[in-house]
Subunit: 519 residues, 2 copies
């Protein structure tokens, strides 16, 4: 069956603890999801905050390849005409082809939370759906708390669906908003609803019992063809259904049509990109896409996998773009790495000794905490150095940064001494903080030798603390994105010392720029 | 129905990436699980490693209150008499009342991995079970890869169960070892097996599809009464069924008898203790026991919960010993903030002028880049300061951090001068980086005045670079999570200078600790 995936990372996912997306983050995530082939991207609630309004203005500027963009909002408020409701109007202004309207389907919520009558709630649903259908929108109706509502008052819950479909809703989404529905109850209720309507059904589940993925799959078994969730399970409380587990479950285990085969191979990469943008580490244990998902530790298991892979692997990891790891004896071979090797030296064979040694070097750096996803320029420099092709444009002979604070004021300053082709240069700078002071001092010293660096700007600077248990003594990984206005490149540095990690990433970034500008 | 829980944190859980238990760790975890009322504690494989043999010697010295201890091992090897098999003898020597024997039930494994005949495998199962029954043991038989085996060759898979039950096995455990079984398939297969045997059935599922909890619940619906898993989901690849989600699911949602009510109220505490011992942070999103499991962020949700708790909570958090939290963010409304205001001063009215001013203060701080989500303790201190209720435990009069690098080496050091009740203390420390050096120096100076700080530890340290095109000059937000072993609290600091932001968060964290410890 063809199943449509509706991703709400940017809307329901943003309700997750510790998640806060900037407009730029949101635009980047839209691009990742669109490339993955996700069908609907629910990306904000323009009625609830200014930032989302701004985002919708921006996102319209760039057409999507695969996905349809969705704005989210509630039914009109009680006692107000739909065309005069600010939130409804804000939703319309977002200018998306699809809107998702949520309405109450649990009588408790109507009476105790909304504090209106059961009848007016039905009108609110009908009016709002009809309003957007009249404007030519595709309308997804999220029946909030549907399963709790159905268990409390099945007749009323069904009437809320009928109000939406009667007004022209394209999809009726049954929501387990509190995540408390038992799988067998959910299965039965979906089957019962299916008998009452010809409108397409969707499912939206939260993970409060650890059942969100299972309940989504079970709903599809009962005829649901639209599945909502968030890409890596972000969301309020315990999160939403994790789509990076739902998608391969439906496609690889039940043969449903969800993504193209090539897109499915990007699943792992996409999940990592999204979590990088959100600055939330991807859990190692995550099904399909986690770093440990195909990692074997037990000796008998490693032995078994080496004999027959499927003896201890439920799918081949390549199908979702992940890879097998043996935790005792790491071994690998990877197309993406080889493509960078070939960029540096096209004559290198994939199975050559040199390629093997570069792979070993990569493994060793990864063990130290390096990560070259998003920092391919640093990896290219690693290869150049390894092959003896790198001629450093400068050397740092000395640096010192000082942070000093009295009760009155605080200052950060940096002294740096570099050597360029036999010539020394020493200079100093003050900055907003020690990293900034160091950055300014280094550029100041270099500009004398390389005026082209004037065009180079830092675009993004990210810090990730590795293995949280050592806290302030833990390693940090600094990712820098730089641009010369045309091209953008990423570099990385790792150290227990944040200054040193920043300096490494900064030096790589400048080296890479000089390599491109002056060879 | 009475359901018996079989915890394998110490055996299958130890196969998880990054998990390594010492003998002391294992003894501590046995105590935690026993107090929780877990029925079986599978605690090692004495045949596979020396450490487990040592552990069994130790654990025998202290009788358990609730649980039965289990040792785990395989069936005898092919071509050897059971009473001469070293692993079988090691298992016997462990001296537990219960043994868990795993055997192959998938013909592929018998022929390609074990490389023996289907008939000999049946004899290996029968011989081994009979051997332990003869010694008076309770025998649990783990039918490894049962579901894959049943799908490939149902008749043979059933014969392996019959071999075990024929030899006297007390429980037949159906294992989804690779975690790849679809819930509806699993349900059907359990129902089919149930018809073929009168012996008690168990279930053991891995989480490779994100279905381990659901599949465990579904198996119980089909008549299984023994459930295996690991307490917080540790295990190879994506982990085992997370018992801290399985137990309340069965008990609170289906009314099965699992734990005593009091024991269930210790669920959250137990989960945290186990992860503390394993030194693995407990995921915030974990169902029932995670820090975010009952945390509300959306304004409408917070208002809803305040009106009727069950409107957005599937169970009362107290039933599993967790608690409700209102997160503070651009999406949350006044209720969450007011709950913290009331914690500081219960006499303050929601609509009072003072409450209004505190809200304004919060908004101003959020504009500066503060985020109090996960850092409620900092917000509590903001309120205390605002109300004049805060008496600082110390003041920082001066601090200086120096990072210095020559081509040879790099060093970070910090000097700090504090004042406590008129007394000054100046000291210095070196660290792995400037933040670590500062942290060490500050604690060193304070310990003299506040020895209770000895128990306080940093649990997590996170850096987020805030938006803006200034990159290294941008503001950074530092979030710190601290613990005294029992309680965990979060604080925040913001500045363009990462050292200052860290210091602010650190100072708040210490102040909050002292407030709770000495008032």
């Amino acid at each position: 069956m063809k199943i449509k995936i509706f991703d709400s990372t940017l809307r329901d996912g943003a309700q997750g603890e510790g998640i806060s997306f900037s407009v730029t983050d949101k635009l980047k995530i839209v691009e990742v999801l669109d490339n993955l082939g996700i069908h609907y991207i629910e990306s904000g609630n323009p009625g609830s905050n200014e930032k989302d309004r701004l985002f919708f203005e921006e996102v319209r500027k760039k057409p999507l390849k695969n996905a349809r963009l969705v704005a989210f909002g509630s039914t009109r408020r009680k006692g107000i005409e739909v065309s005069r409701d600010d939130n409804v109007l804000a939703l319309l202004e977002a200018g998306t082809g699809v809107v998702c309207i949520f309405g109450k389907s649990w009588d408790l919520h109507v009476e105790k939370i909304l504090r209106t009558t059961l009848e007016e709630n039905l009108e609110m649903i009908g009016d709002t759906v009809a309003f957007f259908k009249d404007k030519g929108k595709e309308v997804v109706f999220d029946a909030e708390h549907f399963f709790d509502g159905y268990q409390a008052n099945p007749a009323y819950a069904l009437r809320t669906l009928a109000a939406a479909s009667g007004a022209g809703a394209d999809v009726l989404v049954l929501c387990d908003t509190n995540g408390g529905t038992y799988p067998t109850d959910l299965q039965r209720i979906v089957a019962e609803v299916k008998k009452t309507t010809a409108t397409e059904l969707g499912i939206h589940v939260h993970d409060d019992m650890g059942l969100a993925v299972a309940n989504s799959l079970l709903a599809v078994d009962e005829g649901v063809t639209h599945v909502q969730g968030t890409f890596t399970g972000f969301g309020e409380r315990c999160g939403n259904a994790n789509l990076s587990a739902v998608i391969p479950g439906l496609q690889l285990k039940r043969g449903h049509e969800v993504l193209e085969e090539d897109q499915l191979k990007n699943l792992t990469h996409g999940a990592r990109e999204i979590n990088n943008i959100a600055n939330i580490p991807l859990a190692n244990q995550l099904p399909y896409v986690g770093r440990s998902a195909f990692s074997h530790k037990g000796g008998m298991h490693i032995d078994g996998v080496a004999k027959v892979a499927r003896s201890f692997e439920h799918i081949p990891p390549e199908e979702v773009g992940n890879r097998r790891r043996y935790l005792m004896s790491e071994m690998s071979g990877k197309t993406s790495i080889f493509s960078i090797i070939q960029r540096v030296d096209p004559s290198l064979e994939r199975n050559s000794e040199t390629s093997g040694k570069i792979l070993e070097k990569l493994k060793a750096l990864e063990k130290e905490g390096y990560q070259f996803e998003g920092a391919e320029s640093s990896f290219e420099l690693v290869i150049r150095k390894f092959l003896g092709l790198h001629d450093p444009a400068f050397e740092i002979e000395y640096f010192k940064t000082i942070d000093e604070s009295t009760t009155a004021a605080l200052s950060a300053s940096s002294i740096i001494k570099i050597r360029v082709k036999g010539q020394e240069e020493i200079t100093a700078a003050q900055g907003n903080g020690p990293v900034n002071a160091m950055d300014l001092a280094l550029r100041k010293a270099l500009l004398k030798f390389y005026p082209c660096l004037d065009r180079m700007k830092l675009k993004d600077y990210k810090v990730r603390v590795l293995d949280g248990d050592n806290t302030t003594a833990a390693k940090v990984r600094v990712l820098i994105e730089s641009t010369n206005g045309e091209e953008t490149w990423g570099t990385v540095g790792v150290s227990t010392n944040i200054m040193e990690a920043s300096l490494k990433a900064l030096v790589d970034s400048i080296e890479y720029n000089l390599l491109k500008e002056i060879g």
